[in-house]
């Protein structure tokens, strides 16, 4: 761990207690959505389109309805039509096609029956008449002159135009004078890059159990990163009041952004309503890969100008994202992720275009990895061309506080330089590169978000505490909430029970995404604790017979001159007589989320006979602000890295000409396994975020941004071949070596 600044000595923050929910998870008791069963439940199955783009001429469910065990069948006709402009229209259409199917795997009908097999058999018996439409399967096809429309309903966002288009967004960004800078450059490198669609790859398929009672209220258990959004989106798709819906977050088996939207809950709810029985729907892995959102495929052209001493004076380029069947903000966000270097002159256009493939969903730092792959590769090539150390080139140009982001707004306090120095000074980087291996570095960051959170802190009669939040725990955040509460209240973290509560039992809380939970929900927890401490001091004053202003709070005790300290437990024991229960709820719309930068370094060996790239050693340095629970910060760094390695070396979507995914299983969609990877060394850099009481920066997403370029740069060093297309799978490496 690298501590960058003088920081307070904490008693609990920064320690590594066993996470409270861990025990249930190691004995098989933890309940994920598919583990829940309700008496009388039916199983749902979804009919999915075999065509990549087609008009639905008719759907005949009569045969299905009469089949054994079937209790309900539905189509889009069972949902209200959401008008153009309704923010949930795309989500609604994606989870149940209306009039047009937009990709192979697009849902268009659903069945609830006594067993899953009966439901699937009935779904297969639904008769659909299609009129085939042209299929658009790549960015190039989508952007070509005269290209057929992938989705006739799409309009280009912020354009003011009502013409149907394949363009989702167009984001130009400009500052300075790039042409002058390129004229004056000592070295210019220009490259084109390409990446494939990749899936978040969570091991737990989407699942939910929905029980609509005779009162018309829906009880939903869902695998989700944000149950308040499940409630809101389900309400919007069904046309129901929010008050009719309760969502309980089950334990979630991975999300990474892919579970920040919904696919199943409204379908299960309508089936439950129609049948009068609870309905459980669990996706198969095949469905997950064919029909849930991957990260967009991309193409880019990046040109960077440099002076001979390594100053990067200009960047000019274009990046396009193939975002699937409905409008998506990938282009905007991708453009804005260009913000690690000062680039006084900048001209970029980021474009997102539609294809007849599944609607994209967020995947850890969405859109940034594709952009970073390109930019970090070109910078590496510049360093090679100038004969400069790649870390030195980055140090020379790294943004610091006050430097502009791509949007123009100034960066707040950030730790990019500190991360670069941490890698430069690391054991890994200082060790000689072993014979037959080669080294690469890369960097990346994510802005992180704040958004809304609520927290309730209850002090129990015996001085223990319950901390209730609404942030589904996808990486250990419950433990972090308990640690921050322990630090504030001055009691042992093991005397605190952190709980993630349902939508009826905690105040509104935004989705666990954007690396916001420890930051924003943590802030709500801290605020609730501080308000509670004010109340505890007032109660202590009553007990001690002094004025409230005379009481201080220190290490879990109320202190007043001339009086014996009162422990928290001594005060809670007298809660009733001093005013009643001790409970506080705090809520906020958190501003000031601090960006988290990371720098990665890897050593690889390339087998020139097989094309296999072996990652031999990997080190990551990332700015966490303050690591509340260092083990789980390290976990985020390592997990993001492993996903990036998969993105770099093996993962891709293979489609046939009709838009059918050919590798829709974990056998052929190859994610890293334990034998693919070395230990992943972590260096936690701490440049505290001034906007958070403990200096926290979200860390969940940044880790996936650097690895692709880091590995491509190492492969370049090993082979003198610049890999510009992902994945760098053995056939791709062999082909590139063949052209060397």
């Amino acid at each position: 761990m690298t501590v960058t600044e003088d920081r307070p000595t904490y008693k609990w923050v920064g320690t590594r207690p066993i996470r409270h929910d861990g025990y249930d998870k190691v004995v098989g008791k933890a309940r994920f959505a598919a583990d829940l069963n309700l008496p009388g439940q039916l199983h749902g199955a979804i009919l999915r389109s075999p065509h990549g783009h087609a008009r639905i001429l008719s759907i005949d469910t009569s045969v299905a309805e009469a089949m054994p065990g079937v209790r309900a069948v539905l189509t889009a006709a069972d949902f209200p039509t959401l008008e153009m402009g309704n923010p949930e229209r795309d989500v609604a259409i994606n989870l149940m096609a209306r009039d047009v199917v937009l990709y192979v795997g697009h849902a268009l009908a659903a069945v609830a029956a006594s067993t899953r097999a009966e439901a699937e058999a009935a779904a297969a018996a639904i008769e659909v008449e299609y009129e085939l439409l042209p299929v658009v399967l790549s960015l190039d096809e989508s952007l070509a002159d005269g290209a057929p429309l992938a989705n006739e309903d799409n309009r280009t966002a912020f354009s003011g135009s009502d013409d149907p288009s394949n363009l989702a967004t167009v984001t130009p960004l400009e500052r300075g004078d790039v042409e002058a800078a390129f004229e004056a450059a000592d070295l210019i490198v220009e490259r084109e890059f390409e990446t494939s669609w990749v899936h978040q790859g969570y091991i737990e398929p989407h699942a939910c159990v929905v029980d609509v009672g005779a009162d018309g209220k829906a009880d939903i258990w869902a695998s989700s990163q944000g149950h308040f959004r499940v409630r809101a989106q389900t309400a919007a798709v069904l046309g129901w009041d929010t008050a009719r819906i309760k969502v309980t977050p089950a334990e979630i088996g991975g999300g990474f952004g892919g579970k920040t939207t919904i696919y199943l809950e409204p379908v299960a709810a309508r089936l439950s309503e129609k049948s009068g029985r609870p309905v459980k729907i669990v996706m198969s892995r095949d469905e997950v890969l064919r029909a849930t959102g991957p990260a967009p495929a991309s193409k880019s052209r990046i040109r960077i100008a440099a002076t001979s001493d390594g100053e990067l004076t200009a960047i000019d380029g274009w990046i396009g994202y193939a975002v699937g069947c409905t409008n998506d903000m990938a282009g905007f966000i991708g453009a804005m992720s260009v913000a690690s270097y000062k680039f006084p002159n900048l001209k970029l256009e980021a474009v997102a275009a539609l294809t007849n493939t599944p609607k994209s969903a967020a995947y850890r730092a969405p859109s940034a990895p594709q952009a970073a792959f390109a930019i970090e590769s070109v910078i590496d090539e510049i360093a090679q061309g100038l004969g400069l150390d790649p870390i030195d080139v980055r140090l020379k140009n790294a943004v610091t506080e006050g430097d502009p982001t791509a949007m123009g707004s100034p960066h707040p306090r950030i730790g990019f330089v500190e991360c670069l120095e941490a890698i430069r000074d690391s054991d890994h980087y200082r060790s000689p590169v072993a014979e037959g291996t080669a080294r690469g570095v890369g960097s990346g960051f994510w802005f992180n978000i704040g958004e809304q959170s609520s927290a309730t802190v209850n002090l129990n009669e015996d001085g223990t505490a319950t901390v209730i939040t609404g942030s589904p725990d996808i990486g250990g955040s419950r433990a972090s909430m308990a640690l921050m509460a322990a630090e504030e209240l001055g009691i042992d973290v093991h005397q605190i029970t952190p709980v993630v509560a349902d939508t009826e039992s905690v105040g509104f809380t935004d989705v666990t995404e954007g690396s916001r939970a420890t930051f924003a929900t943590g802030m709500a927890v801290v605020n609730a604790c501080r308000e509670l401490i004010d109340e505890l001091k007032a109660r202590a004053a009553t007990i001690l017979g002094v004025d409230a202003e005379a009481v201080d709070w220190l290490d879990g005790e109320a202190i007043a001159d001339g009086k014996e300290p009162l422990s928290l437990a001594a005060i809670t024991a007298k809660a009733k007589s001093t005013g009643g229960p001790l409970t506080v709820t705090a809520s906020l719309n958190a501003g000031g989320a601090g960006p988290s930068f990371a720098v990665h370094c890897c050593d690889v060996a390339v087998d020139e006979e097989t094309g296999q790239v072996t990652v031999l050693r990997y080190t990551t340095a990332q700015d966490a602000g303050t690591a509340i629970h260092p083990s789980y910060v390290e976990g985020q760094m390592q997990g993001g890295t492993a996903q990036g390695i998969g993105w770099a070396l093996n993962e891709e979507y293979v489609y046939d000409d009709d838009g059918t995914m050919l590798n829709a299983s974990f056998l052929d969609y190859r994610v890293p396994v334990a034998s693919d990877l070395p230990m992943i060394e972590t260096i936690i850099v701490e440049v505290p975020n001034p906007a958070h009481p403990y200096g926290v920066r979200g860390v969940g997403e940044t880790g996936i941004v650097p690895p692709m370029a880091t590995i491509a740069n190492a492969v370049s060093a090993a082979t003198s071949v610049r890999m510009t297309a992902l994945p760098m799978s053995p056939p791709a490496i062999l082909a590139a070596l063949g052209e060397r």
């Binding site: 998870k25 583990d35 230990m679």
Partner: protein, 163 residues
Amino acid sequence: MSKRSRTHVTCTVNGDEVDFLASDDTSLLDALRDELGLTGAKEGCGTGDCGACSVLVDGRVNCSCLMFAPEAEGTDIVTVEGIAEGDQLHPLQQTFLEGAALQCGICTPGFLVSAKALLDENPDPTETEIRYALAGNLCRCTGYDKIVRSVQEAAVQLRGAAR
């Protein structure tokens, strides 16, 4: 409406003699989860590629999604629910907790079963041997680093206890 005929299966699960009914095409995984209520083993893929459904059958690691439930007749099955001894966690479970070897926890039951099978057979595995023994279990959260370290630590503890 007739139900397909179901086979009566008797076997031992986590030391208990149990019995249940299963169709010929019910997987052992579905029988464990739906007939016996043992939901520790998970379905991550249904095709034997992710290992989340791993259980021990007569001491060997099996993807329970690939076994038909009637094949379990007369076998001795251990699931994650049977790894602890009463209220004593197995060293692997303890080191996984202390070593933060789980984040979302969905893959954890499968890893514990596979790792237990490894250490039962090879009490002093190298890092490479651990990685290859666990290569059939996918984890998307951790990058495997802390899982491997936790297995190493559990191996040390088990060797110490065995002396």
